[in-house]
């Protein structure tokens, strides 16, 4: 769940013609610490409002593991220590989204997440969203002790609104809100369709998206610039395709449908884009192309 902010810095910076105010600078994509701060804020809201202390050590473990693995691998592979904001976000995402009564799955999931960025690559780009890949891997490899959260922040209205506000703020600032918008609209449409197909009704089918944890997925995971295509139309198409894949998985009663849908569609979209681009302009592999 590396949010779509850090990598989009260039685009936003280019669009900033006039000198922004301090507040604008703070909420700018140029502030690479904004995403970690905002996602930390979301965690703290959950912590304060619902008291998640028992999972707090696990979250700290996930973050620590991410930071350590990122530091080691970046030094080893790139010969330098990279900025750890991205690793922090991966760690905190694992800490929030994963659920296990044991400690080791949190560390392992975080480690797989970071390592996958350095290993699963094609023509200089990694194909999977790291956290998404790690979560799917853990769901397949360790279902006896690992699952994902869907309900941890309760079912009330206002935590959902906090995530919506923060999420919209971030995705709007990084010019990715169209991805979220297309996905949400598609999900609602397909919920209507599924309700008709299953006979369970619209509310039952739309219920997942009304849970706060699910919104972390739609605001922060599918908008990851490193793991989606680069054109706006392409991003909208990918979001729509993820929603379609999710609908198919949901009709097959797959509980972790959104994660698997992203894991299936995301790499295919990127691979297609790489292939399409490479027909005209071959990509040169460099060490510097390893992501932060």
């Amino acid at each position: 769940m590396t949010p779509g902010i850090t990598a989009n810095a260039t685009a936003v910076a280019d669009s900033a013609k006039s000198k922004p105010s301090a507040l604008a600078r703070f909420f700018s994509i140029e502030n690479r610490y904004l995403p970690p701060m905002l996602i930390t804020l979301i965690l703290l809201v959950g912590q304060v409002s619902f008291g998640l202390l028992e999972s707090f050590p696990r979250t700290v473990l996930a973050i620590s593991t991410s930071l350590i693995v990122e530091s080691i691998l970046s030094r080893l592979v790139m010969g330098k220590f990279v900025n750890l904001a991205s690793a922090y976000i991966s760690g905190i995402s694992v800490g929030i989204l994963c659920r296990s009564p044991e400690y080791w799955p949190f560390a392992l999931c975080a480690a797989i997440s970071i390592t996958s960025k350095y290993v699963i690559r094609w023509r200089g780009r990694h194909l999977w969203n790291p956290s998404n890949f790690a979560i799917c891997a853990m769901l397949i490899l360790a279902p006896d002790v690992f699952t994902t959260l869907s309900i941890q922040w309760g079912n009330t209205f206002w935590p959902m609104m906090v995530v919506w506000v923060v999420g919209c703020l971030i995705t709007w600032r990084v010019d990715r809100i169209h991805i979220t918008g297309v996905y949400v609209a598609s999900f609602v449409f397909f919920a209507l369709l599924r309700g008709f197909i299953t006979g369970h009704g619209f509310l039952a089918e739309v219920a997942p998206i009304t849970g706060p944890m699910y919104q972390l997925f739609i605001f922060f995971m599918i908008t990851d610039p490193k793991t989606t295509v680069r054109t706006k139309k392409g991003q909208c198409l990918v979001a729509f395709l993820i929603a379609i894949a999710e609908m198919i998985l949901r009709l097959a009663q797959n509980i972790h449908a959104p994660y698997y849908a992203l894991a299936i569609v995301g790499p295919l979209a990127i691979a297609t884009e790489i292939w399409w681009t490479s027909r005209n302009k071959p990509v040169v592999l460099t060490r510097q192309s390893i992501p932060a």
Binding site: F50, G51, L52, L53, E54, S55, L73, L76, V77, R99, S100, P101, E102, W104, P105, L108, A111, I112, T115, S116, Y118, V119, I120, A137, M138, L139, L141, A142, P143, D144, V145, F146, T147, S150, I151, Q152, G154, N155, T156, F157, M160, T198, H200, G201, L203, A204, E205, V206, A207, P208, T210, G211, M213, Y214, R250, Q253, N254, I255
Partner: protein, 586 residues
């Protein structure tokens, strides 16, 4: 350059292999062997032929009926006629169905006498159906009376000399309707008269047979606060009770499924622990009988919301203090809450008492969709073992309701709280056909799951479990009440090499049932504390006697009995392998 590629790739492969390695390591721990005990299911040959039936609630719930009507099978142990042999009371939940009271005939067989004594026909349409029963001698006449709690009208029956039971609900002043799933007897103010705690699940305004609408489900899967209220009835001593919960500080509308009372801090007064479904557990410290303080967060037990379904206490490490076991839901690949074993943190005590969850570290965490659990020394080795029953709804083995369940459970309160939004069950299972857990305590901080090796092989939807020594031979047998299933009696054969001792206590200044009395046994440099309980587990009550296994000890050094009245009684070197009848000194 090549090494820079190889190392991350190798690391990546190793990481992906870790889950497999952990699973193999875990499997290696579950070695087979002799555990000094074996169970044999022998209900039918013992004359027990009871099958539980679920209720048929309002037709608006037809689409999810088996999931909503998934509780009500309960078992409690009592020697109602004082013949020295423990009997079994079991509840039924079909409208018009009958509860059973299996009288222990002392020869290994039981006979249902519920009709004869007036405790069978208690589920008449319009009065609700039974969800459990707890026994306590509320009028100190020497015979155990019974509260039958229901989704409906709670009923109190007075035991008339072990021959018959008389309904005294109105005289006692109990409420007209409570959708209760837990009740326990306790003497919270140590006045020598048993008081009664009653915990609501659905709100008391809901009549599940005549719903006004379908908005009666929890408004959150983990933070629901729209359940039933709690009642604390103070025994006034004249057959009447006064409801004092608000006055004494017990305010909660969480969805209570289990409660247990025990003196957790050594104050001489029982504290109260409540395990809640759809939310956090609550712990109430008892302020010398003058009031209760909710200290869930302060003590650490009130943070992580789960699906609490049982509450049982036991001196797990023979340290002279109680751990609290709470069962929850674990379904592979879907929801892994894990059960909780709340152990007192080292160095904390009194008002500063704090707990940490050691279920994972001690190996008693994953028990499926767990319901009832009880501590007891099943093999008489001097250590508290743990028996957990599980399984929620067993219908079609090959089709699961989990996807649809999780789909709605994560939704907004407005969606989840309306039963009409829940997809139909359509004959699918929801964590059905699960293997029970018999965890043997190794004395070194670990439990081993041995159910398959000691003869516990059923996969019914277990709800309530109670432990009792039915043959008075020093071995704890197990009775399991299953939802829509048979009542099971697991007779226990324990290695004769292990010694035991039991104490049957009778209060004089304290309540006659001796509920709340603590007995600490000292032997071989060890000590173990137990407390007479007025109900524990899920809708269950163990035998009133306290049973201690002693391993291969040749003698008990000392026994300290602390009565609720405050009286301390010491016994030295009581004979082994005997039941000792102890009366509180005046």
């Amino acid at each position: 350059m090549r090494i820079r590629k190889i190392i991350p790739t190798a690391l990546f492969i190793v990481l992906l292999c870790v889950p497999l390695a952990m699973r193999r390591l875990s499997a290696h721990r579950q070695e087979t062997g002799s555990y000094g005990m074996s169970f044999r299911e022998s209900a039918r040959e013992s004359g027990i032929d009871f099958k539980h039936a679920s209720p048929h609630l309002d037709r608006k719930l037809d689409h999810i009926m088996q999931q909503v009507a998934s509780m009500g099978a309960a078992v409690s142990i009592v020697d109602f006629d004082k013949d020295g042999f423990d009997d079994i009371y079991v509840t039924n939940s079909g409208e018009g169905s009958k509860n059973a009271l299996y009288r222990n005939q002392g020869d290994g067989t039981f006979r249902d006498v519920a009709e004869e004594v007036g405790l069978a026909d208690v589920n008449q349409p319009g009065t609700g159906v039974s969800t459990g029963a707890v026994w306590g001698d509320y009028d100190n006449d020497g015979y155990e009376d019974v509260l039958i709690y229901k989704w409906g009208k709670p009923e109190l029956y007075h035991n008339d000399g072990g021959k018959h039971f008389t309904r005294v609900t109105e005289q006692a002043g109990l409420p007209g309707w409570v959708n209760a799933n837990t009740a326990i007897w306790l003497d919270y103010d140590n006045d020598g008269k048993l008081d009664l705690f009653l915990g609501g699940y659905y709100p008391e305004g809901v009549d599940l047979w005549h719903l006004k609408d379908t908005k009666m489900m929890p408004d959150s899967f983990e933070y629901a606060n729209n359940g039933g209220r709690k009642y604390l009835f103070h025994n006034l001593g004249n057959g009447k009770f006064e409801e004092v919960s608000e006055k004494l500080g017990i305010h909660s509308n969480r969805w209570a499924l289990a409660a247990v009372a025990a003196d957790l801090r050594g104050t001489g007064y029982p504290d109260l622990f409540i395990a809640n479904d759809y939310g956090v557990s609550e712990l109430y410290f008892n302020d010398q009988g003058h009031g209760f303080r909710e200290v869930g967060k302060q003590t650490g037990v009130g943070y992580a919301p789960k699906s609490g379904m049982t509450a049982a206490v036991g001196d797990v490490l023979n340290q002279g203090n109680f751990g609290i076991y709470v069962s929850n839901i674990s379904e592979e690949g879907v929801l892994v809450q894990g059960n909780n074993l709340w152990m007192p943190k080292a160095g904390t005590s009194g008002d500063g008492l704090k707990y940490e969850n050691l279920a994972n570290a001690m190996g008693v965490e994953l028990g499926g969709w767990s319901f009832g659990a009880q501590f007891g020394d099943l093999n008489n080795d001097g250590l508290m073992d743990l028996y957990v029953v599980n399984g929620n709804v067993s219908l079609d083995r090959n089709r699961t309701y989990w996807y649809d369940y999780s789909k709605v459970a994560g939704g907004n309160a407005a969606i989840i709280s309306d039963a009409a939004n829940w997809p139909p069950l359509n004959g699918r299972s929801l964590s059905g056909y699960q293997q029970k857990r018999v965890w043997i305590n190794d004395g070194a901080g670990q439990f081993r799951e041995v159910s398959q090796f000691v003869g516990v092989t059923d996969v019914y939807d277990g709800r309530s479990i109670a432990l009792a020594d039915f043959d008075n031979n020093g071995a704890l047998d197990a009775v399991v009440a299953n939802q829509n299933g048979p009542l099971l009696l697991y007779k226990n054969t324990v290695s004769p090499a292990n010694q035991w001792v039991e104490f049957e206590l009778k209060g004089t200044r304290s309540n006659r049932s001796a509920i709340g009395t603590q007995v600490t046994l000292y032997w071989n440099g060890q000590r173990q504390i137990q407390e007479v309980s007025g109900g524990s587990g899920f809708c269950a009550q163990n035998q009133r006697r306290l049973h201690f296994g002693l391993g291969k000890a040749t003698q008990v050094d000392r026994v300290e009995i602390r009565w609720p009245s405050g009286k301390i009684q010491n016994l030295s070197a009581p004979a082994l392998n005997q039941i000792h009848k102890i009366e509180e000194p005046s």
